[in-house]
């Protein structure tokens, strides 16, 4: 297992190298260059000064030279400066934006799984019942709903309709201007702090969770049905085990194996795919960072964020495979 992990990690290197080349090339070939904005804001810049800036930024060199220089610095932990925020790109992306997205998508993932797995089990156990049909129908609705539409609807419901009808306050979007230091200095209580953050997070978490829930329910149902139809379940029932025991000890454990893999594979998609949700609710996480840095031609930040997503994807693929062996003793990697 250890040797397998090491081998997979080594195999990851060329894959990530190729991914970084592609991402870098696509960013370097983007229309316009980072100096465009400077040129517009400051019409007095002479061609000579622009040329100097170009040289200072290294934009006069061919793309492949720039790539290898970037790679050399990146391997030493230097991802360059953010042009629009004036801070180090690495600090900005990993220190500020990534934790927020981890919080958001982690919560959404937890909510989705906590609801979807029991519902999927229920639906599979009561196959062909009215409840099963209702759940299956709901899951179809769920994964046919585009995330941007759901986001807009929820935004409208909880900031306009509900407050108008019930007089409850509208749910806020964006980030609260509250920090942990406010709690330590005593300007807000601990629960007030949690409450404020929660009120800001409800809408984006709900959006992400509702969309994911549909597919998890479906996978859980299909996976459990597959197991329930197998011979060893019949054997377990035939020897007189209680149905509860058959279900939870024999069937569920096996049915959860593919779910573990799917969860591992879905994590990176959720991190990157939160672009739309974060945009709708003005939540400044990774997705919004990527979107904004592309618009602002802040390529150091975009490169840091995209490269990190690629690394995370590769890592979670590996974790999914390893977990697969952990939960299923029949699988041995050598």
């Amino acid at each position: 297992m250890f040797a397998y992990t090491i081998r997979r990690l080594v195999q990851m290197i060329p894959l990530l190298f190729a991914a970084s080349v592609v991402i870098f090339a696509l960013l370097a070939l983007q229309p316009g260059d980072p100096l465009d904005e400077l040129r517009q804001n400051n019409p007095n810049l002479t061609a000579e000064q622009l040329e100097q800036l170009r040289k200072a930024y290294g934009l006069d060199q061919p793309i492949y030279v720039r790539y290898f220089k970037w790679l050399g610095r990146a391997l030493q932990g230097d991802l360059g400066q953010s042009r629009s925020y004036g801070v180090k790109a690495a600090e900005f992306v990993f220190g500020e934006r990534l934790p927020r997205t981890l919080l958001l998508s982690g919560l959404a993932f937890a909510v989705a799984l906590l609801i979807a797995i029991p519902v999927g089990i229920f639906s599979a156990v009561r196959q062909y019942s009215t409840a099963d049909y209702a759940i299956t129908f709901m899951t179809f609705i769920g994964f046919s709903t585009p995330v941007f539409f759901l986001g807009i609807i929820l935004l409208y419901l909880f900031t306009v309709v509900v407050p108008e009808r019930t007089g409850l306050p509208a749910l806020p979007t964006g980030l609260p201007s509250l920090f942990w230091s406010d709690v330590t200095t005593g300007s807000i209580s601990f629960f007030g702090f949690i409450g404020t953050w929660a009120s800001h997070l409800i809408l984006p978490v709900m959006t992400l969770a509702l969309i994911q829930m549909a597919s998890w329910t479906r996978y859980m149902r299909a996976s459990l049905l597959e197991v329930l139809n197998q011979d060893f379940i019949r054997t377990a029932r035939a020897k007189g085990l209680a149905e509860r025991k058959v279900l939870y000890k024999h069937a569920l454990r096996n049915a959860l194996i593919p779910i573990v893999t799917l969860v591992g594979l879905a994590v990176p998609g959720v991190l990157g795919g939160a672009i739309i949700t974060e945009n709708i609710f003005s939540y400044p996480g990774m997705g919004r960072t990527i979107f904004e840095s592309l618009l602002a031609k802040d390529y150091n930040v975009a490169m840091a964020a995209l490269a990190m997503l690629a690394v995370l994807t590769a890592l979670f693929n590996l974790i999914a495979d390893l977990l697969y062996a952990v939960v299923d003793p029949r699988i041995r990697y050598s």
């Binding site: 070939l29 179809f140 046919s144 539409f149 807009i152 672009i275 995209l306």
Partner: protein
């Protein structure tokens, strides 16, 4: 003593009849088929159905009252921020959504099927990719016109080597020159060492290339590309790619503009959806072909002297058609959502062309004052995708009764 022939209705005799009888049982799938049919009719006859032009803006007196009209008798779904009729834009938007959906799904699955077939069929039979000029022949599958390919591959091989040498020269050059000038800093020494190693490797490769050979298992190559596609984050890269292809300053952008004119952004969207959309069906088809090629009918076809292409596309691919059709159907829904998402973010199809996705972009800004602007396109996307998902489900049940999920 005659045994009565089993009774069969006329419709059960053909494969299509059999399929249709099974498909009909899935009520929602039939309803979806009808819905999609109506949608296609609506898209085709949009100019006759739409009450207004999708881009017509109001003129004349009292303009302010013509913007943001709520649903009324004249404008069933109201008007938008520029006073355009929302219903007409929805009807015209169906054209773009369906065009993008069908084109992207069909081309993506077609490409995936071809690559998946090649990968599955030639798995374990490496393609002799490179054979040095001084090498004697050796085994392995070789393409027709191998002599021409051999010469071309030498040119390619030594060309790449030259490129690598230039790269090493450019990267290390400055530092080494600075070092020779007496400034032996750590970075300069590092460059010298790295460059020397790189030069040694290039020299070795140049000598190896004379006699060596290089074989490539198409299956491994294609599977690696698929793994790679799974590593790169999809949605952000779609954004990057669409901005790049649309750039009128770049040669690609100019070429596309020249060829496609007004429909440039539609073409761009379709091509980037295809670039990311072929992997799923390629994996599916590859798996199917891997098992099919071991069956007797394949051996029989080969024994009868059928060419590789004939075995692949006449004998193997038709046997994978059921999952391919299901994949296309589900792919249309997926492509419609992705197009809408890209357009929603402003990286897709550009206004004034109406699409359901870019109608939502504007609607988001006015969600508090004019919510109907978001509801109409949102529901159309939702219903269309739901219909394609149900249709795919019904087709799967009817075509491939064994598969679940």
């Amino acid at each position: 003593m005659a045994i009565a022939a089993p009774k069969s209705s006329a419709s059960a005799d053909t494969a299509f009849g059999l399929f249709w009888r099974r498909f009909r049982k899935h009520r929602l799938a039939v309803a979806s088929l009808v819905f999609i049919g109506l949608l296609i009719l609506m898209a085709v006859f949009a100019p006759f159905i739409a009450p207004y032009s999708p881009t017509a803006q109001p003129t004349g007196e009292d303009l302010a009252s013509k913007y943001f009209q709520g649903p009324s008798r004249e404008h069933w779904l109201g008007t938008d921020d520029l006073g355009r009729d929302v219903l007409s834009r929805i009807i015209y938007g169906a054209r773009v959504s369906l065009l993008v959906g069908f084109m992207a799904a069909i081309s993506g699955v077609l490409l995936g099927t071809i690559l998946g077939t090649l990968a599955g069929y030639f798995s374990g039979r490496p393609f002799r990719f490179y054979l040095g000029p001084l090498n004697r022949r050796e085994g392995g599958w070789q393409p027709p016109l191998f002599v021409a390919w051999r010469v071309a591959s030498w040119v390619l091989f030594y060309g790449l080597l030259l490129g690598a040498a230039q790269l090493v020269w450019t990267l290390g050059g400055d530092d080494i020159r600075a070092g020779l000038g007496g400034d032996w800093s750590f970075a300069n020494v590092l460059s010298l060492v790295a460059s020397s190693l790189a030069w040694a490797a290039i020299a070795w490769a140049a000598v190896w290339g004379l006699r060596g050979s290089f074989r490539l298992d198409l299956d491994i190559a294609i599977s690696r590309v698929i793994d790679f596609m799974l590593t790169i984050p999809e949605l952000p890269l779609l954004l990057v790619l669409s901005a790049l292809l649309r750039d009128p300053g770049a040669s690609v952008g100019q070429w596309i503009q020249g060829v496609f004119g007004e429909s440039t952004s539609v073409f761009i969207i379709i091509s980037i959806l295809v670039i990311f959309g072929w992997t799923g069906s390629a994996r599916l088809v590859r798996g199917a072909i891997l098992s099919l090629r071991e069956q007797e009918f394949t051996t029989a076809a080969q024994a009868l002297g059928a060419s590789e292409a004939r075995v692949m596309f006449r004998h193997l691919v038709p046997n994978t058609i059921a999952p391919i059709i299901v994949n296309v159907t589900l792919g249309v829904g997926g492509a419609i959502v992705t197009e809408a998402a890209l357009s929603f973010l402003g990286f897709g199809i550009q206004p004034p062309v109406a699409t359901w996705g870019n109608m939502l972009t504007n609607a988001q800004e006015y969600i508090f004052s004019a919510p109907w602007l978001a509801l109409a396109p949102g529901f159309m996307i939702f219903l269309t995708v739901l219909a394609f998902n149900y249709l795919g489900d019904g087709l799967r049940d009817a075509l491939d009764p064994r598969s679940r999920l």
